[in-house]
């Protein structure tokens, strides 16, 4: 995708310029918004189609689409794709712990035991 670069405070701190300010522009942002809208429409459509709603793929598909939307917003709108790796670590580290917490609590309270067995 096209990249229009913005430079803020480049003269003040050149190291930061390389690390943080290569953000995309309108040409990328509207495409991202369109993709997010289409994914959301797809999710709601799946909810209203009984053959999909009652199938075994419904929940994994919804979780995958939701994770995809999450990743797109974080990468493009929050600029994590373009920012310094320290910011990536500050976000993905706690996010990993948060995900593990949810899974551990689901096992602890028996919601996932039925699916994966003891």
């Amino acid at each position: 995708m096209e990249q229009d670069t913005t430079h803020t405070d480049a003269a003040v701190h050149p190291a930061e310029d390389h690390a943080e300010h290569h953000h995309p522009g309108w040409s990328t942002y509207w495409k991202v918004a369109l993709i997010l809208t289409l994914i959301t429409v797809g999710e709601v459509w799946m909810y209203y189609v009984p053959s999909i709603y009652n199938s075994r793929v419904f929940v994994p598909a919804l979780l995958s689409l939701s994770a995809l939307k999450f990743g797109i917003v974080v990468a493009f709108y929050m600029h994590l794709k373009y920012d310094h790796k320290l910011f990536r670590a500050l976000f993905t580290g706690p996010l990993f712990i948060a995900g593990c917490t949810i899974i551990a609590l689901m096992f602890l309270f028996g919601h996932l035991v039925a699916k994966f067995g003891r």
Binding site: H13, E43, L65, H84, F87, M106, H111
Partner: protein, 217 residues
């Protein structure tokens, strides 16, 4: 003319304020993970209705309760919040490029930080309006925070999210007032970037809530 912003660089060469907002967002991830976990653990364990996806008849009164979640309304509010994220990145881009000459009408529209900050705040307020409508209709239909486990965990989770959106709208209105008072320029880009990161985080939390609470039975 705005005064040059004070910089708070760390040994990494990165601004301490931006490191702080990412650390804050990381901690918020864990807060919402605990709230989502609580909702998921209590899901399907309510002894009395109304229920999110199933109809229920009260055995004592014979009153019939339909599935309480309103997917069309929530889909509309989800779309509004997604669009607000687009408006927010355009606001940030406008502030960063304030000094770039605007030759065409589309350049002037895309370069108007006031327009995009207003649009973001308006979209956020619309989302809150949808949430107020949803909460009110739930209470009228017999679901309060004290009714059952679903009501307790649902209102706590979505209420916390709504409180975060409210804080975000107040933050945006504060930036707008600064923009009207002295104008936001490239020197303020980091301040707007930090507000934008918070706003997008509120958006990604809703992406998870919409799927886990509203769409998955």
């Amino acid at each position: 003319m705005s005064a040059p912003a004070a910089h708070h660089y760390t040994a990494t060469g990165l601004d301490s304020r931006k490191i702080a907002i990412w650390a804050f967002i990381g901690s918020e991830c864990m807060l919402f993970a605990s709230l989502i976990s609580t909702y998921l653990i209590y899901k399907g364990r309510s002894r009395v209705g109304p229920f999110p996806h199933e109809t229920w008849v009260d055995p004592t009164s014979g009153h019939h309760f339909h599935a309480i979640l309103n997917i069309p309304v929530t889909s509309a509010s989800t779309f509004t919040l997604l669009m607000s994220s687009l408006f927010m990145v355009l606001a940030l881009s406008a502030v960063q490029n304030k000094n770039v000459p605007k030759r065409t009408t589309s350049d002037r529209i895309l370069g108007s930080s006031k327009l995009w900050l207003w649009a973001t705040a308006l979209a956020g307020s619309t989302f809150l309006g949808f949430q107020a409508f949803e909460f009110t209709s739930f209470v009228h239909e017999g679901l309060t925070i004290r009714t059952n486990l679903f009501g307790s965990s649902f209102f706590t989770l979505t209420g916390f999210h709504g409180a975060h959106v409210t804080a975000g709208v107040i933050w945006l209105l504060t930036l707008l007032s600064i923009d009207y008072r002295r104008g936001l320029g490239p020197n303020d880009a980091l301040n707007v970037d930090i507000a934008a990161l918070y706003w997008h985080f509120v958006d990604v939390v809703w992406i998870a809530i919409f799927t886990l609470v509203y769409l998955i039975k």
